[in-house]
């Protein structure tokens, strides 16, 4: 049984999406490629690739199963550790995770294409409709999950296996979080993320309340949740793009990068008349945005970063690929404001030259641009927790212990809202880990509702 809820695919007659023209930057392996590559794996003991995966997938085992033709078993080995194995296969920065740790790197031999093999096995499972998990016998306990991104999806799946009822509260009309709205289309398009989310929820018994925002002053308050649920999982991710306090930030042609990415992934943006674009920032979102603008056909795309190329926080392998595609870097530049033409349209970005310590040198430059994207970070959302007693917020993130327990008994968190913004695979790992802590909490008789019953304190948890 699946719960009906709005998905991307369901919206018949939806306009074409701007991301549709992108091709996969790493092509899917065919059966021959997968077999040959799988047979190359050394099947290491205590393999370093497993340790490098936040969800600790038994990589040598799933690869061996591809080599023996046991593709079902291969997919199961992946999902046993990471139910979002299909999207992770596409979006994980494998160069710094599993693939980066393959022992072949020490032999001067190309490392095993672990992500590609994982994609092969998990795509097979999704295509064939293989399902491996069933919901556990109902415990009668109910958990609210705030946000329906990777963290909450992983948590909900694990909670359902343990038999707990789940309700996902999602502010957006569709589930999937940034896996649908944020990931670069040459890694994964929105519909793949959306279908995976559907497949995960196919375990059944997860109610989705889409278009519902949770928090102080939102559609549903935490007090409401505490009345209805035994535990709450916070998986609401990060907020809107940070804005410059610079002058003229409101001019047309200036977008937050994540906002822009969501717009062209789910619908269309009009780039007519854009010959030059500037992306401000030096992190992964900035590099993605640069490559996306090039892919969308903008002739000249420059990334302006306040530090040097060697100090950008975006992955070197991604930036290298961006340069191959024609991206330009402008270093040691900090944004000051925006220039408009007589008609009020964006004409350029004004930047201050800064030294290695980011102190202005006194020189200013203007980079011509008809489109500017700000990729200088996303805001933190922990504000929605205002008034919830006991929950600690640290630099905008929900503070959790190693098990994912938040400060108030019955509250748990994982993913970007707790780790400050990492990868999908971290969200998947943290969601699952928190689900285990929730199961332990509920199993020991804990319940949020205790907060509201007179005389009772939180719970054992």
């Amino acid at each position: 049984m699946t719960t009906p809820y709005p998905t991307l695919n369901a919206s018949a007659g939806a306009p074409a999406r701007g991301e549709e023209g992108f091709e996969d930057y790493k092509r899917a392996l065919n059966a021959n490629q997968a077999r040959v590559e799988a047979n190359r794996c050394l099947y290491c003991s205590d393999a370093p690739c497993i340790a490098a995966c936040p969800t600790e997938i038994n990589i040598p085992e799933f690869i061996r199963k591809i080599a023996t033709g046991n593709e079902r078993g291969s997919a199961k080995t992946i999902f046993d550790s990471n139910i979002l194995g299909q999207s992770c296969a596409r979006v994980c920065p494998v160069e710094v995770l599993c693939v980066g740790s393959c022992v072949y790197n020490h032999m001067g031999v190309p490392p095993i294409q672990i992500g590609q093999l994982q994609r092969y096995a998990t795509d097979r499972a999704h295509e064939e409709g293989w399902r491996f998990y069933e919901a556990g016998a109902s415990t009668g306990r109910r958990v609210a999950l705030v946000g329906a991104g990777p963290a909450s999806l992983a948590a909900a799946h694990e909670l359902r296996r343990a038999g707990h009822g789940c309700v996902l509260f999602e502010r957006r009309p569709q589930v999937g979080g940034l896996n649908v709205t944020g990931v670069a289309p040459y890694k994964m398009k929105a519909d793949v993320g959306a279908r995976e989310a559907e497949w995960v929820l196919g375990i059944g018994g997860v109610e989705v309340r889409a278009g519902v925002s949770v928090g102080a002053g939102e559609d549903v308050s935490f007090e409401d949740l505490e009345r209805e649920f035994d535990a709450v999982f916070l998986g609401f991710g990060l907020g809107a793009d940070s804005r410059l306090e610079a002058e003229g930030a409101g001019v047309p042609g200036v977008w937050g990068a994540v906002e822009f990415i969501e717009a062209f992934k789910l619908s269309q943006v009009d780039l007519s008349g854009v010959r030059e674009a500037v992306v401000v920032g030096g992190g992964n979102t900035a590099v993605d945005a640069v490559r996306e603008l090039i892919g969308l056909g903008v002739p000249s795309v420059t990334m302006a970063y306040r530090r040097g190329e060697d100090r950008m926080s975006g992955y070197a392998h991604e930036w290298r690929a961006a340069k191959v595609e024609g991206a330009r870097g402008a270093w040691g530049l900090s944004p000051l404001g925006f220039e408009r033409d007589a008609a009020g349209a964006l004409r350029g970005v004004r930047l201050a030259e800064v030294d290695a310590a980011c102190a202005p040198t006194g020189t200013e430059r203007v980079l011509e641009a008809q489109l500017a994207l700000l990729a200088i970070g996303q805001s933190k959302l922990a504000g929605v927790l205002a008034g919830v007693e006991g929950l600690a917020v640290e630099r905008g993130c929900v503070r959790v212990d190693a098990e994912g327990r938040a400060g108030r008994a019955g509250y748990f968190a994982g993913g970007d809202c707790a780790n400050g913004g990492k990868e999908v695979v971290n969200a998947a790992a943290e969601g699952k880990r928190a689900a285990r802590a929730i199961d332990a909490f509920l199993g020991a008789g804990g319940s949020l509702r205790a907060h509201n019953s007179r005389g009772a304190t939180g719970a054992q948890g």
């Binding site: 021959n32 099947y43 199963k65 033709g69 046991n70 079902r72």
Partner: protein, 422 residues
Amino acid sequence: MADLRTNCAGIKSPNPFWLASAPPANSGGQIMRAFDAGWGGAVWKTLGTPIQNVSSRFGGLSYGGVRGVGFNNIELITDRPLEVNFREIYEVKKRFPDHAVVASLMVETEEEWRDIIMRSVDAGADGLELNFGCPHGMCERGMGSAVGQEPTVNERITSWAKRYSPVPVLVKLTPNVSDILPHGLAAQRGGADGVSLINTIKSIIGVDIERMVPVPRVEGLSTNGGYCGAAVKPIALHMLASLARSREFQLPISGIGGVSDWRDAVEFILLGSSSVQVCTAVMLKGYRIVEDMIEGLSDYMDRQGFKTVDEMVGRAVPQYSEWGNLNLNYETVAKISADKCIGCQLCVTACHDGAHQCIHPQEGSRVPRVDEAECVGCNLCQIVCPVEGCITMEEVPNGFSPATWNEHLSEGAALRPKKGAH
């Protein structure tokens, strides 16, 4: 889901996968780890008067960069005190009452056989395996393959074992004989409940060409050892099937020799094994390989509609026949899929030099062409092709009714004209 529970000659286990008597089944601690990993049974490293081993002991055969395609050893039976082994058998059985623990035994006199059988059974062994197979060292002392090569000795010792053993007795046969059947029948006459095969094959795995000493080298000398691992599977399958298809031979068989994954295991079961033993693959890759073996077998059974392992045992045996019964009028030719072809032209060279010169390069394309009028349907091109499913052997109708060599001799059945014989 298929039921993998197995009963081989009265020895029951949760699945047909057993560790063969060898280093992976050397001690209780190892066997418990193997059972935790999913193995259904274990044949304990052969017990007898503990021996002293040499160093080094093993040799490996690499082929095309793949290590351990074949493996050989000059190790003898257990070197651990018998009372330690028996205590551990007891401990393993206590923790795993439903798993199969089989004691492999090798001693000389009837007294010794009686004594070691009693002690094995007291320790809790579910069955015995008489090691008549070891082809090095022990046979120089009149045991192992020295017994397995003499049907009368085999029968005599088997009957002693049956006299003293209240639990099922398997006889482990040596492949170092020209025909396995008389040896299987000797075990049957001796009263064995089943046989296991194969033990290792007499071999020299290589020569250290700088020192001019065969390997494995023990100081300045070496000796012949026992060959096993993936490379011996075809020999094992043949011996297994020879017994399985014999009308006289009626005992259950535990198949051994080169099993590395679930596919190998399926092949052994289809040719008549009711349990499958593994040594080398575990030595090379660890107990963990059993997970894939269980999944792969179970999936295969579901796909084929087999509910139990028993239903599967021997299903390919009736299709193993004599050359004289093969249809000489059945004709196939190679077809190359242009879509799948990668243009390596390995098939061109193989056919030209090793077959019937009927695959030709084509002008303007890397995809070769098969001259079907000349193709004898030998399979060589398909064997060398690196692309799965690119070359297929397809039947071509030729208007001749089926005719075997035997039918041709006895009834003068008409044979199609020979191809490629000019």
